[in-house]
């Protein structure tokens, strides 16, 4: 995975993940009614969860105090480290790694935590990409976050290309998928 670019949709979605903050000033536009801009005020010293793209910068400017997202709390990290393969990453965050990479500057342990998780889980992804699916694999596939799910899909495509070609299916010209 390369550095996220400005136009990267996955990054845009990842930085929408919310983090708990304590407001240091009164801010307008944070409530659910604030879509059109500014009818919902939240006051100084309240705790509020804000999207990371908002919280990160406001934290730097001391308008809010950003806390560590619970998905990277020490307890969570310890829990996942015990058996990375059985963690339901998708339900923790669809963008676990991408969000973690963003939070990494704030929590020095994150690179280590993500690395462990990733290295363990890609072994299994590689195995699954080579085999037919069984129940256990199905559960694991359901637990993948977006980065992992994309990787699995790419692996399966690349692995499938050889048998497909050996069975002489690679040369069939088909209708383009973009046309319904």
């Amino acid at each position: 995975m390369s550095k996220p670019g400005y136009y990267d949709i996955d990054d845009i979605l990842a930085v929408q993940e919310r983090v708990p903050c304590v407001l240091q000033v009164d801010l307008d536009g944070l409530g659910s009614a604030g879509g059109g801009g500014g009818t919902s005020k939240v006051y100084r010293n309240s705790r509020w969860t804000l999207p990371f793209w908002m919280a990160d910068r406001l934290n730097e400017e001391d308008y809010v105090d950003m806390e560590v997202s619970p998905i990277f709390s020490k307890r969570a990290n310890r829990m996942y480290a015990a058996s990375p393969e059985s963690v339901q990453l998708r339900s923790i965050s669809q963008h676990y790694y991408q969000f973690g990479l963003q939070m990494g500057d704030l929590v020095p342990e994150i690179p280590h935590v993500l690395r462990n998780m990733y290295m363990q889980r890609i072994q299994k992804i590689a195995r699954i990409a080579q085999q037919d699916h069984n129940i256990e694999a199905f559960d694991f596939v359901q637990s993948l976050d977006r980065t992992e799910a994309r990787l699995l899909k790419l692996c399966q495509q690349a692995q499938g290309a050889i048998p497909e070609w050996q069975q002489n299916k690679a040369y069939t010209l088909t209708k383009t998928s973009a046309i319904p």
Binding site: G104, I110, Q123, Q130
Partner: protein, 197 residues
């Protein structure tokens, strides 16, 4: 896009077959031996103008030995032509009658591929964001593992950079945490975060 998303992740198998056809091969045209590009040989073969001489490595005996060696624990990848899978497939499809025991050869190629596949999976454990040597892998095998290895390599690289940058910014973040007294942080951060052993 001018090339498809699949092509941005590597080559298609037909593309590799295309490359493989530029490899040289020996044929027997009208009793005289010649060496020429595979695609030429195929054209002559299709019009019954030659017999193709199977390369030495594409024999039952040779492949059988390779399989045995490949299967040994902690062995490297055995040496095979860069386009071995494509050439084997092309010859098995177009010149089966020029191969001895083509069924056996076909099976051994498949076996070889599977052993080598599980070896590359082992290699994944050793992946690091600087370099990993993978001698004797063929291009089809590389193409097959490319998305997995390349994306994982890049992920590890970014995590490495992040670890590096937080080494530098640790002083700052230490200060930052020292400046502000979060009760929550006392729970979520132990001193081990700030002073790694």
């Amino acid at each position: 896009m001018a090339i498809t998303t699949r092509q941005q992740e590597g080559f298609t198998m037909p593309e590799l077959e295309y490359m493989a056809q530029c490899e040289d091969i020996t044929i027997v045209p009208l009793h005289r031996m010649e060496r020429l590009e595979l695609m030429r040989a195929l054209m002559l073969k299709r019009s019954n103008r030659c017999r193709i001489v199977a390369p030495e490595w594409l024999s039952y005996e040779h492949l059988h030995n390779l399989c045995k060696r490949e299967d040994q624990p902690d062995s490297m990848f055995t040496k095979l032509p860069f386009h071995y899978l494509e050439i084997a497939q092309i010859l098995l499809t177009n010149a089966e009658d020029d191969l001895i025991d083509s069924q056996g050869v076909r099976r051994l190629i498949q076996d070889l591929r599977e052993v080598r596949q599980s070896k590359t999976r082992e290699g994944l454990r050793m992946l690091n964001p600087l370099q990993l040597q993978m001698d004797n892998l063929s291009i089809a095998e590389i193409n097959e593992i490319r998305p997995l290895f390349a994306h994982s390599f890049d992920m590890l690289r970014r995590l490495d950079e992040l670890a590096g940058s937080s080494d530098v910014s640790r002083q700052q973040s230490q200060n930052m945490f020292a400046d502000q007294s979060y009760s929550e942080f006392d729970d979520t951060f132990s001193s081990s975060y700030l002073n790694p052993e």
